[in-house]
């Protein structure tokens, strides 16, 4: 029998422990940090609710989790201004929540309900809303990068003073569109920020079989743009790096690539038990859970930014909010069959002002 281990590289190493000191003197004030905490918790708790709905057989199709990666989504999106644009992937629920997406919108999408933003036409987090600066991806990985480069180009042409932020996984960086999109963005010097979420795995493929390099950030040099490597489980570090990149882009200095080292704590999707991921790797990363870490930081000695009671209050507020969101989502009926035939073509020219959310899906 053939040796299977061949070609397999070392395990995806966890980043060094966070620099508590730097954490202490982050420029984000208490209110902002509590908001980050709230969004990360909301991200995780909303996905836990989705997990329940999945186990109750109420979710149609697959369910994707970003457990363990909440700090990357939340910290990066939190660095944006209202006029900015974000193109999230399926593991960036946190980014969408920061932009004002309601959990019930996503729940309705996963449950294929008629009240969801796409009216049941498309699934999960696959919806956008230009008025909220939200651009929807397609499943084909990489394709969103050139599209977000175009969003950034238009934002410059229109003098919006806006930046475009998008995401790609370690696996997604192997696509031709990653290369074409980043090179085009660099040559045209558009305000684009790319967060590469290196979570060690692409479905069952470890990063060592996806590429021959350890740090995806080195690819930035091939486009003549700056890069930063950041601990993706450290929400303040992610926020800081993104903020620097966003302001660089807003200032006209062009794209930045940020590699966030993080880890996918669940399978590729809910059906996947991730048996191919070595136990010790999961254990190692459990210790670095982004929410636990941030909690320790907030409660930390020296700079007590919050009390346990305050954090518990946030959590229970989210809990009752999510009860309502789940009820709202469950109250939405499946879409009427005729809707399948509507809305293939746009009927009349659409101005960005007019462009809205679910309402604009032909329903």
């Amino acid at each position: 029998m053939a040796k299977v281990s061949r070609n397999w590289g070392p395990l995806h190493p966890a980043p060094p422990p966070p620099d508590e000191e730097r954490l202490a003197k982050t420029e984000l004030g208490r209110e902002a940090q509590l908001e980050l905490y709230r969004f990360m918790k909301l991200n995780r708790m909303a996905e836990d609710r989705l997990g329940n709905l999945y186990r109750q057989g109420k979710v149609v199709g697959g369910l994707y989790s970003s457990r363990g990666q909440e700090a990357t989504s939340v910290g990066s999106a939190y660095a944006l201004e209202p006029q900015d644009f974000v193109g999230p992937l399926i593991r960036n629920l946190g980014s969408m929540l920061v932009r004002g997406v309601q959990p019930s919108e996503v729940m309705m999408q996963y449950m294929a309900r008629g009240g969801g933003p796409t009216g049941g036409k498309d699934a999960n987090t696959h919806f956008g809303d230009v008025s909220r600066g939200l651009i929807a991806p397609i499943s084909m990985l990489g394709a969103l990068i050139p599209v977000m480069a175009g969003v950034a180009l238009a934002a410059r042409m229109q003098g919006r003073n806006a930046v475009a932020l998008t995401y790609i996984g370690d696996g997604g960086t192997s696509t031709g569109d990653f290369h074409e999109g980043m090179n085009l963005a660099a040559v045209l010097n558009v305000p684009l920020v790319l967060i590469v979420e290196n979570n060690g795995w692409a479905y069952s493929t470890p990063t060592s079989r996806q590429m021959r390099i350890k740090d995806i950030a080195v690819r930035a040099a091939g486009y003549g743009i700056p890069a930063e490597i950041v601990d993706g489980n450290d929400v303040l570090a992610v926020h800081g790096a993104t903020k620097r990149a966003v302001e660089r882009a807003r200032g006209g200095a062009g794209p930045t690539l940020i590699e966030a080292k993080t880890f996918r704590m669940k399978g590729h999707a809910e059906h996947d038990d991730a048996g191919y991921v070595p136990r010790e790797q999961i254990e190692e990363w459990k210790k670095k859970d982004p929410i636990d870490r941030f909690e320790r930081h907030l409660l930390g000695e020296g700079h007590g930014l919050a009390t346990r009671e305050e954090l518990e209050a946030i959590t229970s507020a989210l809990d009752s909010m999510l009860n309502e969101e789940v009820d709202r989502a469950l109250a939405s009926p499946l879409p009427p069959p005729e809707r399948a035939f509507l809305g293939v073509y746009a009927e009349s020219p659409v101005s960005p002002a007019a462009s809205g959310r679910g309402g604009r899906v032909a329903v």
């Binding site: 029998m1 053939a2 040796k3 299977v4 061949r6 070609n7 149609v60 199709g61 294929a112 309900r113 008629g114 796409t118 049941g120 036409k121 498309d122 699934a123 696959h126 397609i138 499943s139 084909m140 990985l141 990489g142 696996g171 997604g172 192997s174 696509t175 031709g176 692409a202 479905y203 069952s204 493929t205 079989r209 996806q210 590429m211 191919y276 499946l334 879409p335 009427p336 069959p337 005729e338 809707r339 399948a340 035939f341 293939v344």
Partner: protein
């Protein structure tokens, strides 16, 4: 011998061809340790090792390009698309490199590109497509779409042995829903030949893939009203078995082409056009198509049900046409 699923039949074809012919190897995403998203290649890495079950980065264009290159040296690569929808990312390599190569400089490109196609599993816009309509236009390609487990094994075996680039579209709805006993040992189902799945006198339903089972069920139901359907399973979508198509139409004089594609640009349209040109004198009525509407594949069950052809819709169409 016991009945095996459509999926297991595909796995058997891969395994047996790899044993028979050392030039055959697999290349794609998550094939090895994981055994593929649908487990079609489960166990093959352990059996043949990583040099013949090649896991790749997420690079459909390079996967197909590398397969083309290997085939130029006489290898027989079988590329897996994790979902056939992603074949769109390899479009240029398939249509412009592989397909015209033998015509251009006489060098054969014996590759197979296979993967799960089709809807009715609520996969939404990008995990439900039937891309045959996009590729039938490419001279030099062959396209195969099996409807039964026996055909899945026999056609895949033939596809791997074929000296031309073959797109092999597996219908994921059938993967674990149908089971049959397979012929013993090594067999091929010839590419380019359709099969009369049901003999009938009154009307021909020409179809393939998952829709074959819709047609057969409708035929059973229509027997009650004394309508005797003939059902032709195309099996190969390019090159079409025009002879078999015309023979069935000349016999029944009435025809419905049934397929799980948007109407416009469908293979069903090509079949209908061939009939209208070459069987006109035998036709007693218009050449009907029962396809999907010209929309993306919608996600939500009621929408997808409205989108897909089914037994009720076919029965209604048949009644309409036979009372023509």
């Amino acid at each position: 011998m016991s009945a095996v699923t459509y999926l297991e039949a595909i796995r058997q074809a891969l395994l047996e061809e790899m044993e028979r012919d050392e030039r055959v190897f697999l290349i794609g995403q998550d094939l090895g340790v994981y055994g593929g998203a649908f487990r079609v290649t489960a166990g093959l890495l352990e059996r043949f090792g990583p040099e013949r079950v090649v896991d790749t980065p997420i690079s459909e264009s390079a996967m197909v390009g590398a397969a083309i290159g290997a085939s130029l040296l006489g290898m027989r690569p079988v590329v897996e698309m994790q979902f056939i929808d992603f074949i769109s990312c390899a479009f240029n390599q398939i249509v412009n490199f592989a397909a015209p190569n033998h015509y251009r400089w006489g060098q054969a490109v014996p590759i197979v590109v296979r993967g799960p196609a089709g809807g009715n599993v609520h996969g939404s816009v990008f995990h439900s497509q039937n891309p045959e309509g996009f590729f039938q236009r490419a001279p030099g390609l062959k396209i195969v779409a099996p409807a039964t487990a026996a055909d899945a094994k026999g056609l895949l075996t033939a596809a791997i042995r074929d000296p031309n680039p073959v797109l092999f579209f597996e219908h994921k709805y059938l993967y674990r829903r149908i089971k049959e006993e397979l012929p013993n040992g090594d067999y091929e189902v010839p590419i380019g030949r359709a099969r009369v799945a049901r003999e009938g006198r009154d009307l021909s339903v020409i179809t393939y893939g998952a829709m074959l089972h819709v047609a057969l069920e409708a035929a059973g139901r229509l027997e009650a009203d004394g309508i005797d359907l003939e059902v032709l399973d195309l099996r190969t979508l390019k090159p079409l078995d025009q002879e078999a198509i015309l023979a069935s139409v000349k016999k029944t004089s009435r025809v419905i082409v049934l397929s799980e594609e948007p109407l416009t640009g469908s293979v069903a349209g090509e079949v209908a056009a061939r009939i209208a040109e070459h069987a006109f004198p035998w036709l007693d009525g218009p050449v009907h198509r029962l396809c999907c509407p010209d929309t993306p594949v919608p996600f939500s069950p009621p929408l997808e049900e409205a989108y897909l052809p089914n037994v009720d819709k076919l029965v209604a169409k048949v009644r309409e046409l036979s009372s023509y």
